[in-house]
Symmetry: C2
Subunit: 213 residues, 2 copies
DNA sequence: ACATAATGTTAAAGCTATTAACTTTAGGCC
DNA sequence: GGCCTAAAGTTAATAGCTTTAACATTATGT
């Protein structure tokens, strides 16, 4: 903060809560979430290190707000993909998977925050992250639509959704954290996802064929 | 450390390096890896807070040693499963997947350490974690053996291994971090893994059938 | 206007990581 | 055995972060 800034600045920030969330998101983007320091977010927002405590219970609480922001973005992306592909098509399911993987890899620095241990540490009566719920809800309904169109009745769409989610999530996570490099593999993630995703969808149709006999 | 301990203790610990690794593993088991403090490991080993620096460059270096220990355990478990199932059988592949999932969930506190951001942060010329390499090598060869037995020639066993790994990894990670709770689902993970794993294996056989036409 | 709640600030306590300077012990060599 | 050197500990100090307490300023409703 320069001297000029200091002069311009009013005592009250006006929108500090959101400013802190944005600052935190930027800092995490830049330096990973382990090294994130609350005071840095405060500094970036131009306030003292104690100011954040007027808006967040503690550091973790601010991080949860960042999670909410990020998962909201995921559900937006999901909605966009849904709008661009015919409902109930296999292509749509695969595009959603691809979208998930690129979201995860685009936001590498947020991975542990979004999907890691800190998700566990939610305290007592905090509201659950609505973005994730909503995003999965959208995905589930897309998968259910495909099941309808494919006349697959014996298999729960929820189970299929969870399998597809796990596949995309695992692929994204392993790629993100360079686990493939470690074993000297450098696969084409999108291709792997499409191929394996198709196998899972085929699996459901096979199951149907089987029950028909 | 009690006064009696202090009296018994020799100036030199004798095996401090290993004692610190074990202490760190225990502490992480107890309180998660975010809250792990180097000084706590030192305290538990009965030495001063500066002593660890004679054996590890810094905190991260000690954590990497813990990763190595844990991934060694994974490769041991893998070997055990291989010994208990007929080589090349589908059952063996599925058992390996189940083993992976239970390893991950048994060591929940280590998840981020093993598979999270900290894997990225390996500095310069450090040796790569041999446990993970070896474990995957074993899995890959098991999958390759299955492919041989199933006369699947057109599909790279590596790709199939990566798909199966990603599936198990994603399932384990999501379960571990209560992401299924968040969407009000409580699936049977082993069943999901078996079902989806079979689909992936079937997918390869389908691909073969296709090329035969 | 004024009372009060909201929102900032400064100062301080308590942890942690890491380093520097000093001490004790182990082991090789005469 | 005695001595020298390196290895492995210790203490003390620095620097940074989180969180709280006490105090200051600004908004807002009546």
């Amino acid at each position: 903060m320069t001297a000029a800034d200091k002069k311009n600045r009013r005592y009250h920030h006006g929108d500090l809560r959101n400013a802190l969330i944005v600052a935190a998101a930027e800092l995490i983007e830049e330096g990973g979430c382990d090294d994130f320091a609350l005071v840095d977010a405060a500094r970036r927002a131009g306030v003292s290190s104690a100011a954040p405590y007027r808006h967040f219970r503690d550091r973790e609480d601010l991080l949860q707000a960042v999670v909410e922001l990020a998962s909201w973005e995921l559900s937006c992306r999901t909605r966009k993909v849904l709008a661009e592909h015919p409902r109930g098509s296999r292509e749509c399911i695969l595009a959603l998977g691809k979208c998930y993987v690129s979201f995860v890899t685009d936001h590498g620095a947020f991975y542990d925050l979004l999907w890691g241990d800190s998700s566990n540490r939610r305290q007592g009566s905090q509201p659950p992250p609505t973005g994730k719920r909503e995003g999965f809800g959208l995905f589930l309904s897309a998968v259910a639509a495909w099941c309808d169109g494919s006349a697959v009745t014996e298999q729960d769409p929820l189970d299929l959704s969870l399998k597809l989610w796990a596949l995309a999530h695992g692929l994204a996570g392993l790629a993100m954290h360079h686990q493939f490099d470690l074993i000297d593999a450098s696969p084409d993630i999108d291709e792997l996802l499409a191929s394996a995703g198709n196998s899972l969808l085929d699996g459901v149709e096979l199951a149907r064929d089987h029950t028909k006999r």
